[in-house]
């Protein structure tokens, strides 16, 4: 691949007190790639992607996003966070603000965008995720699927170059999963670089370039999607796939 490397993790280690959550993680993500991270719960998937925008701090190794190396410098961290959007399992919309204010807050106060421009941008993305008509409502008035789509729009309003999804459909009722996955599929087709922690294997087969399987803090299998499903090598991966498919 001769595309630009946008994320690079080299020998990343992380501990919660004595608990070793991430063990020697090496990972490179290229421009426009879609990567699915799966694995049993507690295997460190969420922690891994949360290390990329410094919601968690790694203790050893190197995390590089574009040319910025993640260290203790607040400036660097904020720069990276501006380029990396994130969507959470629990949506984490701001309940005291309307949907449109959720979307415009960061563009107008972090990016210093004029209010009118920020609102235009927000409406553009809310239309894209098909909830433009809900713009003036508060998060509590929306269904789970709508909230998650609003959260995706909110992240997109910062015009990130990379999107991280932390189990975006795990907290949703089954009939709402599809509407969120559809939005994510559209986003993938538009060329966004994405890292998605998910167990939606159908979605993985459709959009992913690579699948990563994690267990006990290690990446135990990392393969192009086709190969991952047709020819898994690791015993643990085989067992996991047999249970989930």
């Amino acid at each position: 691949m001769n595309k630009e490397k946008v994320i690079e993790l080299i020998k990343v280690n992380k501990w919660y007190d004595d608990f070793h959550v991430l063990k020697d993680i090496d990972l490179s993500v290229y421009q426009g790639e879609k990567i699915i991270v799966c694995g049993p719960s507690g295997s460190g998937k969420s922690t891994l992607i949360r290390c990329i925008n410094r919601l968690e701090e790694h203790q050893e190794g190197l995390v590089k996003v574009h040319e910025h190396v993640l260290d203790h410098k607040t400036k660097n961290i904020e720069k990276i966070r501006g380029e990396v959007g994130m969507v959470f399992q629990q949506f984490n919309l701001f309940p005291h603000l309307s949907i449109i204010d959720n979307c415009t807050l960061s563009p107008s106060w972090v990016r210093k965008m004029a209010k009118k421009d920020a609102e235009e941008l927000a409406m553009q993305y809310l239309t894209k995720v098909k909830i433009a008509d809900q713009a003036l409502k508060f998060p509590g008035q929306l269904s789970g699927g709508q909230q998650q789509r609003a959260a995706i729009a909110r992240a997109l309003c910062m015009e990130p170059k990379i999107m991280l999804f932390d189990e975006p459909t795990s907290a949703l009722d089954p009939e709402m999963i599809k509407e969120v996955l559809d939005v994510m599929t559209d986003l993938a087709k538009a060329g966004m670089t994405m890292i998605v922690v998910s167990h939606e294997m159908a979605f993985a087969k459709e959009v992913a370039d690579r699948v990563i399987f994690m267990d006990e803090g290690r990446i135990v299998e990392e393969k192009p999607t086709q190969e991952f499903f047709s020819n898994p090598e690791n015993e643990r991966t085989k067992l996991f796939l047999s249970q989930i498919l």
Binding site: R50, N53, T74, V84, M86, F88, Q90, P95, A151
Partner: protein
Amino acid sequence: MNMKHTFYWCKKNLFSNWYNSIISIFCIYLIIITIPPFVDWAFLSATFEGKLKTDCKSNGACWVFVRVWLEKFMYGFYPVENIWRINLSFLILILTIGASFFVKEKFKLYILFFLIFIFPIIAYILIRGSFGMEIVESREWGGLALTFILAIFGILVSFPLGVLLALGRRSELPVFKYFSICFIEFWRGIPLITVLFAAAVMFPLLLPADFFVDKTLRIAIGIAIFESAYIAEVVRGGLQSLPKGQYDAAKSLGMGYWKMNFFIILPQAIKTVIPGIANTFIALLKDTPLIVLVGMAEILGMINLAKANPYWLGMAVEGYVFAAAIFWVASFFLSSYSQKLEKKFSTEKK
């Protein structure tokens, strides 16, 4: 029909079984032996008209006392011809708070800013005098006006200070964290009366002679700092009730510490602790009369002076009942204002 309705209501709510009946009868008995005599004393047999103690001939309350001394109770020894300046300050305050109910959302921030930063300056200039107005030194301030000045100053200063302390206590930077913890625990650990005595009597002894801070200001700062420790703990409770996801979301959108707290964390945290904040402010208002013990003539001080006046001996009860009524009304206002805020925010949230 109506009688029947009342009868069933009583039966259902007051006499549903034998022990409820006993409790009900006891309560009715208590009401009968206390309320009518009080109403009789305070209103029916009370004397309202007159100028002297001798005008009060009945057994009831002698409200003449309150009438004659009213101006002193309200304004202390503040020069009569300048009282309009105090009235104007309070009028500005009341109008601003009233206006906050009617203006658009985005002006509310300006109103808050005005109340915290600009209003105290205007009020200070008006009440103390300047720009050609006669200067009234703060030792001449008194009565209910002084009580309210101290309480309002206390509220306006202790709130932002308390919020900063609450944030400090949760800070990841050890300097801020341990400073906040020490500060809060120190001020929470000592009684208010100690603070007042220290501010009034001890503080000047510790400073060089030519360094002079006005006594009223020392007391006001003492009260504000004392209460800020309580506000800090109330606000911290609100901060802890927020899910961690709110911090994650704010950070992931590139917000720095102050933006995150100002736009996302504090609005939600403070909203959930409005009842606790109102509680603290009501306590502050009712603690203020303690300054009478360091020789400041706020409303209780003025009442004490008045009842010691040879022409008005024996009027203590009327004075204290009057003071109680005023404090009740003021506290009730604070309480209903806070409930209004709560209701407003809860509908927004849904």
